[in-house]
């Protein structure tokens, strides 16, 4: 059975305030890093799975992303998938 590596990036939707990102941006300024106009924090979820083919692997990870890893009310996600 082919093996796949998947990485899902979960991000707050642009319209949703990210206070943790704002706090980190404030700390970056105190560190002396200038010119940082945006800092938003998301999650990276790394997975390995076995599936008959890439289409099926994609279907499974997309289902997982939609139903568990991200909440579509407040978050978007993107998927990177490759065969091991």
């Amino acid at each position: 059975m082919p093996r796949f590596q998947a990485r899902v990036l979960v991000r707050l939707r642009p319209s949703v305030l990210d206070p943790a990102g704002e706090a980190a941006r404030g700390a970056a300024e105190r560190l002396g890093v200038e010119g940082l106009s945006k800092l938003r924090i998301g999650k990276a979820v790394e997975m390995e799975l076995e599936a008959p083919d890439e289409a099926e692997a994609r279907r499974r990870v997309e289902l997982l992303s939609d139903r568990l890893l991200a909440n579509p009310v407040i978050e978007d996600w993107t998927l990177e998938l490759q065969q091991s």
């Binding site: 707050l12 949703v16 305030l17 206070p19 909440n71 009310v73 407040i74």
Partner: protein, 216 residues
Amino acid sequence: MSIGVIVFPGSNCDRDVQWATEGCLGMSTRRVWHEETDLTGFDAIVLPGGFSYGDYLRCGAIARFAPALQSLIDFAAKGGRVLGICNGFQVLTELGLLPGALTRNRDLHFICEDAHLKVVSQRTAWMQGYSDGALTLPIAHGEGRYQCSDETLKQLQDEDAIALSYGNNPNGSVSDIAGITNASGSVLGLMPHPERACDPATGGTDGRRMLEALLG
């Protein structure tokens, strides 16, 4: 007539709810482990506060898949009363029984204080006891900022489903929202803790009328 309180790993207000509903108000109450699936015999279900499954991934995201909550969907569909308090509110939004989501407080602080609340809609049984339109309940949360799309907010307003709002909006919630119901009014989710305001010795009694509505 009896009330079920769903207990998840990480729930920490389940006993407080039972103390309030049974100890203070004399209503028969049983705690229900999240792996149970049989909710028959209950007239109302409470999802208590706490940190179900450690709040891993997102608050309420994993609790949503608990066996008891698959039964809760049927329970709610038949019109059974469901009350989600704090983490329970977060679970209800993840489960889809209420719209929107709860996110990190605007100022990042865990807020633990008395909240002065306004009754926005008195149409449901939960709020009918508050004829003066105001009450004070404790809040204790780090992720209570209610968030929803403009369309959902309009829908809540059109359905008269905003139950409670904050006087000073401590967490940055959309439209000052502290609690909402579904369209029929059978399901209420709120961040404040009515079970912590049921005895004059421990911070007032403004929560009693809301809890009495579980079986009212």
